[in-house]
Structure formats: structure tokens, C-alpha cells
């Protein structure tokens, strides 16, 4: 995780903002932001479950990624998420892994959580 980015505010990840560069510097509409974070957790959990990892919110500013045995890391944004997950697992997280695809194909989108 890039500590400097964390210190200086939003990580400015491309999934966080669209359309206008720089908007992530503005601190508006906290409710909407919280709602998105919850949805993001739900989405990520669908995939991370395959690896036995769980993701939870940390103070609405970062995420906490944990293994089943309790190894834990803070992650800043979605890109860091995968690098951190690979580090915790000691193996690659590949979206093109046929087993992962098979597992996800068996999941149907349910209610929001």
C-alpha cells in the first residue's frame, strides 16, 4: 500500500471517480460514499470468498483484508486489494482462473448486502 497516498487523502483510484480528474479531492455527499463502500464490500466478498478471504470496512477510509487464520492487512483501494491478497495467500489471484470462473458462474446476484 502506498502510505503517502493514504496520508494525503483519497487514493484517486480510477474506480473512485469518473468524468473529471480531481473530483476525488472534494469531500461531498458522505452518505452516497458510504453506500458505495458497502456495495463494494459486497461485490469484493463474492470473489474473495473463493480464496477464503474476507474484506471489511475500516473507518470508512480503508479496508481490512483477512485470511481465515487471521492474517490481516489494510488496503487502500481496489488495485492494492489484489496485490495484498496475493501477498497474504502466497499465490496469484487470477480472474482468468477457470476454477474461479466456474465458482462465480454458480453464484447468482442476490439482494444487496
Amino acid at each position: 500500500m502506498c502510505a503517502l497516498c493514504g496520508v494525503l487523502g483519497g487514493s484517486g483510484h480510477w474506480t473512485d471517480a469518473a468524468a473529471r480528474p480531481g473530483v476525488f479531492t472534494r469531500n461531498v455527499d458522505g452518505l452516497q460514499r458510504r453506500r458505495e463502500r458497502t456495495h463494494r464490500l459486497a461485490c469484493a466478498s463474492r470473489v474473495l470468498g473463493y480464496y477464503g478471504l474476507t474484506l471489511s470496512d475500516w473507518q470508512a477510509s480503508s479496508f481490512v483484508l483477512s485470511t481465515a487464520t487471521g492474517k490481516t492487512e489494510l488496503v487502500e483501494n481496489l488495485s492494492h486489494l489484489w496485490a495484498t491478497a496475493e501477498k497474504l495467500l502466497g499465490r496469484p489471484c487470477d480472474p482468468l482462473d477457470p476454477d474461479l470462473i466456474y465458482r462465480l458462474e454458480g453464484q447468482l446476484g442476490g439482494d444487496g448486502d
Binding site: 456495495h39 477510509s61 481496489l78 482468468l96
Partner: protein
Amino acid sequence: MTEPVFTPVNLITGFLGSGKTTLLQRLLADPALADTAVLINEFGEVGLDHHLLERIDDTMVLLPSGCLCCTIRGELSTAMRELHSRRERGDVPRFRRLVVESTGLADPFPILSTVQADPVLRHHFRLGNVITTVDAVNGLNQLARQVECTKQIAIADRLVLTKTDLAEPAVTDALVGRLSRLNPSAPLWRAAETPIDAAALLAHDMFATAGRSEAARTWFAAELAAAGTNDRSRHDETIQAFALAFDGAVDWTMFGLWLTMLLNRHGDRVLRVKGILNVADSETPVAIHGVQHLVHPPVHMAAWPDGDRRSRLVFIVDGLDRGLIERSLGAFLQAAPQARPAAFTPSLQPTL
């Protein structure tokens, strides 16, 4: 609140001896670029690039290291911050564009990532077009031997073919064919034959044409035409372009999760990904554009380019399986939890 003004940063890259500096000279002679600052880097001890450039004034900062790559990303960042700071203080003229010339050996990617990732720079600068020069005489050989050369071409928004007056027409044609497979949507100029249109080369970038649906239509046509041809020569059989289209609204978060996961693992082999998405809760499409590990800030387009409301993505990949990519994306999107009606629209809201 007034909109922040971002200074576009153009990168000129290209293999050693492919005519980057000559191109820069021609560009800077254009009065339209009078307010352009230039960062070049000195390669080796001689600093040839420096001496060849006619226009050297105090808006130019020489980078002392030979290579702009990862190791001196910090220096590029420092040079750009310094330039910005001097502009704000009034020590240098108020330049409105910055051109960075990279060394021929560099993988251009870290330069782009510096502009987008640096916590200070990203509030003052934005990426503009990447211009890659290709030497018509040696281009095919360089492509065959050097992986950086392929990356420089794949990353380009504009291609400039140099030395066509010295090359055999057949060689040039073969090279042009190769370039159009590696990067179908980048317009190609023949520098020796046509006058350089500085504005078209530097200014008409993805950001400036944001929301203009005809721009999307143009590049889609080019990418799709290339994706449809299968006459790959044995040299670049691992590199292929293909297009995916899918119905229904896309969950932005799930899509982001998928693409970040793909780029984290295979970014080196995703030379380009470009597309428009029909995003849930958004009336108009969102355009995305990624080059290797880097994804440009997504853009809300003003309107759909045509009557087709499907999401469309074009990939140029090196050695990745098209079928797996398609299946993987489909599996991720259908696994998305149903968002509540008031859920996030992928627009404008920061996540801090």
C-alpha cells in the same frame, strides 16, 4: 466552484534513432505551441538530445539520469513539481502544455503512471496524447527484437512514421500493416511526406474529446475492423485485438473489481483496453481507456455514439485467451449483488 485546470502532458517516445528529437523540433517550430514547456532527458554522457534541440529556454529542465524508467520516476516528478512551482511563482512563462521526451530504451509506462499517481502532480497535470515515432527503415527489426518497442507502439495515441523517404515501399507497407495490428485506432502520420499538424498530434486527446460520441465511433470502427482480421503474421501471433459486446447494464463496482484484478495479474499483457459501458443508473455511457497497468480516469460521454446500447470493449492483448477473458467478465458481472435502487452511480463521488 470553478473547474480545476489541468495542464496536459504529452509524451514523445520511440526507439533509439527513430526521430523523436526531429519531431520535437518540428513541433516546437509551430507558433501554436509557443506556450509549451519541454522536459527532455539526457541520455548517456553526451546529452545529444539537448544539443539537437533548437529551442532551449528556461522552461526546460534536463533530467540528469539516462533513463526515465522506474528508477528515476522520482526525478521526473521532482522536475514537474519544480516546473509547476516556478510557473505559479511567475519565474517561467505560463506554459499551457508540457511535452516530455523519453529515452528510446524506456518502457514509457512509468512516465504515464508518474503523472497520474503522484499525489501532487495529479492535481495539476493530466495525461495527453502519447506520440510514438517509428523508424520506417529499422522498425520491423526493432519490433522483432525489442519488447519495449512493441510497448511503445501499443501505448501510443498517435504514431509518427519517420524516414519513409529512405525505406523501401514494401518494407514500409509491411511495417504499416504491423502497426495497424498492434494499435489499430492510433492515427498514423508519415513525417517525411506530410506536414505535421501539431494540434491534431498533441491536442485532440481523449480528455479533450470527452463526451464527443463521434470520436468513440471512429476508434471503435478502427478497432473493430482490426479485430475482425485474422491475418496475423507469425511474428506477432501472440498479440491479438478483439472486441466484446454484451447486453444489459453493467455494475460499475463489479466491473472495476474485475478490471483491477485482471490488470494486477496480467497488466503487462493487456496492451490496451478501451470501451464504452452501459452502466446501471447512468443515462449515457461511460468510456474507459486503459494501457497496461494504468487506467485513465473514466469519462461520462454526452450521448451514445449510435443506436446500439450494448457495452462494448476492445482488447489488445499479448498471449491472453479471448474466450477466458469473455467468460471471466461475464461470470463477474452476473455474480454482482443486486444494488439497491439508490445505489452508487459511478460518477463524481470520491471515496475517501
